[in-house]
């Protein structure tokens, strides 16, 4: 292992990491928002909306992620929707992650029982008050562990976006390998960097879970 080579490649790798974090951050935020909205629609009781969301989730979960990326980047321009590499990537990542977040939050919503609904009704809370003060916080807590999995996977899956030329961490490594053939150095480096990111994120997730659950024993 050539440590000096890795050291010299670090500025490049850090630039790549910056892009990885930026696009993952954008996708995580958007997909969490869409996940909550999608789960709300999915359980709205309005049949067509429920079917639409279910169809979306099944389609995304049932097709390869790389195909989705290519579809957005190469397919959409031919029907008149041309997006930059960054926004194509962000869109692909968001669409993918949203499907999984919808499922997590749907399970979270299901965890809020009839008894809690009865209590809110008997106190004559309005629907939005019940949704905002009671259902959302309880559902987010219940959904947190599986949502954290999706968040971590979002960061890792951003690496697929090197396939459409997004200059993120994996792209930087593959690009340097193409010129300088330091395969082991580069792949080992980015593995460690990805691991480090995931480690930080999981730690954050555990901390949040612990904090939110400290006084409250479920249900």
């Amino acid at each position: 292992m050539d440590w000096v080579y890795i050291y010299k490649a670090l500025p490049d790798l850090m630039n790549g990491l910056g892009m990885t974090l930026l696009i993952s951050g954008v996708a995580i935020c958007l997909s969490l928002l869409l996940g909550v909205i999608g789960a709300a629609l999915r359980t709205s009781g309005i049949r067509p909306l429920e079917m639409l969301v279910t169809g979306y989730v099944e389609f995304i979960r049932g097709t390869p992620y790389l195909v989705q990326i290519f579809f957005i980047f190469y397919g959409l321009p031919s029907i008149g929707l041309k997006l930059s590499i960054f926004w194509s990537g962000a869109l692909a990542l968001t669409i993918w992650a949203s499907a999984f977040h919808i499922e997590s939050f749907r399970a979270g919503l299901a965890a809020v029982g009839q008894g809690i609904r009865d209590a809110s009704a008997s106190l004559s809370l309005k629907r939005w008050q019940h949704a905002w003060f009671i259902v959302l916080p309880l559902a987010l807590r219940a959904a947190l562990p599986s949502a954290m999995n999706t968040i971590v996977a979002t960061v890792k899956n951003s690496s697929y976006l090197q396939a459409i030329g997004l200059v993120e961490l994996t792209f930087v490594a593959v690009d340097r390998i193409a010129y300088e053939f330091r395969t082991v150095e580069m792949f080992a480096s980015i593995c460690v960097i990805y691991l480090f990111c995931v480690f930080i994120l999981s730690g954050l997730g555990h901390w949040l879970e612990h904090r939110l659950n400290r006084p409250f024993a479920g249900r």
Binding site: G115, I116, D118, A119, A121, S122, L123, S124, L125, K126, Q129, F133, I134, P137, L138, R141, L212, P215, F216, A217, G218, R219
Partner: protein, 259 residues
């Protein structure tokens, strides 16, 4: 079971205005009839105990009063207002009617104080300070002011149920519904909840309690109502009900629960 101090049912409530009126109320779950032409009324200040075997429709009946269940036939009036599908009507009635549940149904992510403050603040528009003062007042009344900052899971079942009673009282209801409030409690915790209910009765609250606590019924009830298979079989004063039940089914039921 011994209670705190004797409570004497008042006969003056006979002339009081009607708080709840059910006229020919029926309800079905699919083909199964849960309520069969229920005629039932509660005057202001009256305390009614509703008992009966499980599946007799007693919970369903009181849940119809604040529209947690929808009746399909007949009429329900609460403080003179006819209960309809109209959201404003339902809202108004729910603000007059407090409810306590078998499984407490406290919000697990909010402290006891926050549980008590939420609805007065957002539904009644009471200021935070006033809502908190009111809540502390009721928490003192149910004797758990020291638990105000804790979360429901940190309290015993009896404390949770008393917190739920306080939460309901914070909306200043004039009718309180109790749906088997002690059935989910460990036996040694039943009494503290019943004591709270006895005190509430003594303060003149209009109460409808679904319960199997016959000691409570004897001590507090103006009337005991016995239900079976969706019908009111017998309705009488506690003395008559326990001393001289008219109906065969009532006698059978009493012999099963009073050993």
């Amino acid at each position: 079971m011994m209670m705190t101090a004797p409570y004497i049912a008042q006969s003056s409530t006979v002339e009081a205005p009607l708080s709840v009126e059910m006229i020919g109320v029926s309800k079905w779950y699919g083909h199964f009839q849960v309520l069969d032409s229920i005629d039932f009324s509660v005057r202001r200040g009256e305390k009614i105990v509703v008992c009966g075997p499980s599946g007799s429709g007693k919970s369903t009946m009181i849940r119809c009063i604040n529209r947690l269940e929808v009746h399909q036939q007949g009429e329900i009036r609460v403080n003179g207002i006819v209960l309809t599908d109209n959201v404003r009507v339902i809202d108004q009635i729910r603000q007059d009617v407090g409810m306590v549940f078998q499984s407490f149904n406290l919000y697990p992510h909010l402290t006891i104080l926050e549980n008590c403050v939420l609805a007065p603040r957002w539904v009644k528009g009471v200021s935070r300070k006033e809502a908190e003062e009111r809540a502390m007042g009721y928490l003192e009344r149910v004797r758990i002011p020291d638990q105000a900052g804790k979360y429901p899971s940190q309290l015993s079942g009896g404390q949770q149920q008393r917190a739920a009673i306080a939460r309901s009282l914070c909306m200043n209801p004039d009718i309180m519904l109790f749906d088997e409030p002690t059935s989910a409690l460990d036996p040694e915790l039943v009494r503290e909840v019943l004591d709270t209910m006895v005190e509430l009765a003594r303060d003149g609250m209009t109460m409808v309690c679904v319960t199997h606590e016959m000691g409570f019924a004897r001590q507090v009830a103006d009337r005991v109502v016995f239900m079976d298979r969706g019908r009111i079989v017998e309705s009488a004063s506690p003395n008559e009900f326990f001393g001289n039940p008219k109906e065969e089914r009532t006698r059978n039921f009493l012999s099963q629960i009073l050993h």
